[in-house]
């Protein structure tokens, strides 16, 4: 089929460039695409952000409402992260309930926020054991030109940073800013044998869905790792990507902080 042929040509091109240590769009191997953050674009949401990572675009909206805490954390707010890979965003996305890719996307973004303890959940307790704030982090991809995951992570934390707790709407006092105390950043690399490409675009992904995502917090601690795709990872490359990811995350964290 012509589509397959085209994909093959793309793949060969990406790989031949890579053999020379180059990328098809001229970026360095460890270089992110341009990041644009548009905070607060959904005024009906408690917080929101549109993020463009190159041509990849993701909107994250935050909604909050009071609800029951988890029984094993009676004095903590609850984060629920959900991703919809709507068919508008890519010719390969299908309508319907979340598939394994959107589930994984949502869970890895969630892990970054949760494990970095970016949100002070204890400040979101209304009545211990009975009533706490539920935070819905809804990831809405609108254009998938590769690396939706990092774009979603950036959009999620950016949206949280401008979120107002809607206390007054529920008769619970005055609105106040969501207590955010860290900026977790995920860095995803495409693995091609012993080589890697940070922040792969869609054309680069034609060599396979072989990625490693490393999320860090502002202390450079690793807070989440996810190997995704049917490939084998060498220890050497893993070690190298720890460094690369921490380095990139620092830069992105600065961009996020400045935009909020």
């Amino acid at each position: 089929m012509p589509e397959d042929a085209l994909a093959e040509i793309k793949r060969d091109y990406v790989l031949s460039k890579l053999r020379d240590g180059e990328r098809i769009d001229g970026r360095k191997l460890d270089e992110f695409r341009n990041i644009e953050i548009y905070p607060n674009i959904i005024t009906k949401a408690e917080g929101s952000a549109l993020v463009k990572l190159g041509n990849t675009q993701v909107v994250v909206g935050i909604k909050m409402q009071p609800g029951e805490p988890y029984p094993d954390a009676p004095n903590k707010g609850v984060i629920i992260t959900n991703a919809e890979l709507v068919p508008l965003a890519s010719p390969t996305f299908e309508p319907g309930p979340p598939d394994e890719n959107s589930v994984e996307l949502a869970r890895v973004v969630d892990r970054g926020i949760r494990e970095s303890e970016a949100i002070d959940l204890e400040k979101l307790c209304i009545e211990e054991g009975k009533n706490v704030w539920i935070i819905f982090v809804d990831i809405h991809a609108i254009d998938d030109d590769g690396n939706l995951l990092d774009a979603s992570s950036i959009a999620a934390i950016s949206a949280l940073l401008n979120t107002k707790v809607p206390a007054s709407r529920f008769g619970l006092g005055e609105d106040y800013p969501l207590p955010v105390r860290d900026i977790p950043v995920s860095v995803t690399s495409l693995i091609a044998g012993s080589k890697y490409l940070v922040d792969p675009n869609k054309d680069e992904m034609s060599i396979g869905d072989y990625t490693l995502t490393i999320s860090t917090n502002q202390k450079d601690y690793i807070v989440a790792i996810q190997k995704s795709g049917g490939y084998l990872l060498s220890e050497e490359l893993f070690d190298e990507l720890l460094e690369v990811s921490i380095r990139n995350a620092r830069k992105i964290r600065e961009i996020v902080a400045n935009k909020s």
């Binding site: 935050i62 709507v86 508008l88 809804d138």
Partner: protein, 254 residues
Amino acid sequence: MPESRPEKLIIDGKRLDGRKFDELRPIKIEVDVLKRADGSCYLEMGKNKVVAAVYGPREVHPRHLQDPSKAIIRYRYNMAPFSVEERKRPGPDRRSIEISKVSKEAFEAVIMKELFPRSAIDIFVEVLQADAGSRTACINAASVALVDAGVPMKGILTSVAVAKVDGQLVLDPMKEEDNYGEADMPFAFLIRNSKIESIALIQMDGQMTKEEIKMALELAKKGAMEIYKLQREAIMKRYVTEEGIEVEEVNTDA
């Protein structure tokens, strides 16, 4: 904590947001905003913010969905969970299923689908923020996205609603007018050679006399012509700025 009805929806001959009865909300249209889609459009209409994408004509799977004589048109109206006051559960509800159906049918009537047998033209519209009239905003965006995708149509579809509030017909109602008004009536028109040719979508609920219905139709037509100009402008701007000459060929009217 539902908001309560304002005492009056019309004060001193003006609407709550200061508009005249026959005045549209501010509209913003951007063409070709998505890379992956074959055609796309971002549109704001008051507080509505919607993105439309068109994929196709493309192959249909599974095969038994194919129509050997023409393209099938699919239309998916979807609201982001954060687009409304109270979070909406993801996935289609009965309201979006109905809106998707009538919007799809409006486009079926104007797309030249006989040119693409066995294929599908997919129109996806995401409501990022909803106020009253999100279905009309979506149709307007989808219409531009179809032109951007180069899908041949008999003309442009342009959509707008009319409401009756405090006994008065008003163009392009915003949320309060929609929630507390006496009637709501969305339209979509086929516009060709800058003339309204026929009705591609009409719905109504509330209470109106026959005469009011006819007046509402006239008011909607006036509003549609204004929107049509903005749709045309956005398309031309896109093709003028980037490719200069191509404007002649776009020919949204034929």
